[in-house]
Symmetry: C2
Subunit: 191 residues, 2 copies
């Protein structure tokens, strides 16, 4: 929790993810690690998933404007230009496998269908929570003309919004799981 | 194994996935379930990940031609038209958690970075193996002009090939894990 509060102060956290992360901490057996509320990027790379030689030429967690996209397109590209919209991705460490399965169950209730247990290490059991929300649109290739900016900006912001909605659904499910946890109630019968 | 052989006879299996699936069976503690070698689809839907009201208007595991794409575009769409290229996705059931972690380790060696343990049920521990390879390109929206077919067909086939390469890397890693498994060697000291 101290790390999370410090991260917020420094500005490491995505601007709109605090409530969701805090909800996980309230469960007692879970804490979050590097997580993303969803974002729009423009990437200069051979492929949207490439790391080597790639560059992020635009990044925003709250939206993109026509001016943003026009500006990016005017600068050209070394490889291809990709418009990438990524839904929320959460990394949650749990104290044990039982809590990991419970986090997976809660996440699927909120529509985080592409979620799974990734590894176990000294921090705990690492669970990754993902939706199917993703856009990877070719903006500019070797032989393509410049794209129409207006419909793509509209689409990118719309997809980003779908992701934020899922994030909100996850927050509601996690908070509700804390209130309804019978173990927690048992531990504090007067509460 | 009987199910897999029957699936091949009926034609349920993707044409190019047999060798990889068989390699998993050879490990002894793993078997594969619904798996995909990677494919190109064109989807008529609000979003590429939508199920409700969506329709797959083109699907091929081996590639797409300019004629295919032109044909699909000429028919119009109820919602939006998306060109979706998906890398290979494997579902592997393992006998226990130990084997599940081992499958994850092997998969990551082959570049299947988005892999995780999904659930445990009567069949075993379900592991999903995924690469980051995915293209979701808007072909036709409310306000867009028809796209240039040639560069998109070239790109889709190129992305599909990147996926097939990863599938081959996974096959090599799985087969090599069978040969090098010290437990298996111990069980058959004369072999």
């Amino acid at each position: 929790m101290e790390r999370l509060i410090k991260d917020r102060e420094i500005g490491y956290l995505d601007p709109d993810i605090w409530d969701l992360l805090w909800a996980f901490f309230k469960r007692g057996k879970s804490f979050t690690y590097s997580s993303c509320s969803g974002r729009i990027t423009v990437i200069d790379a051979d492929y949207p998933w490439s790391r080597r030689g790639s560059a992020v030429v635009f990044k925003n967690h709250l939206g993109i404007t026509e001016e943003d996209l026009t500006g990016v397109l005017s600068k050209g590209a070394l490889h291809r230009l990709w418009l990438v919209v990524q839904g929320p991705i959460l990394h949650v460490y749990t104290k044990d496998m039982g809590e990991a399965w419970e986090i997976l169950r809660i996440a699927r209730l909120a529509g985080f269908k592409h979620s799974g247990i990734m590894t176990v290490n000294s921090k705990g059991v690492l669970v990754e929570l993902r939706t199917g929300i993703k856009l990877t649109h070719l903006l500019k290739g070797e032989e393509t003309e410049d794209p129409e900016v207006r419909p793509l900006v509209k689409l990118a912001n719309e997809v980003l919004t779908r992701g934020k909605e899922k994030m909100e659904m996850l927050r509601i499910q996690v908070e509700s799981s804390v209130r309804n946890d019978p173990v927690k109630l048992g531990q504090n019968p007067k509460g």
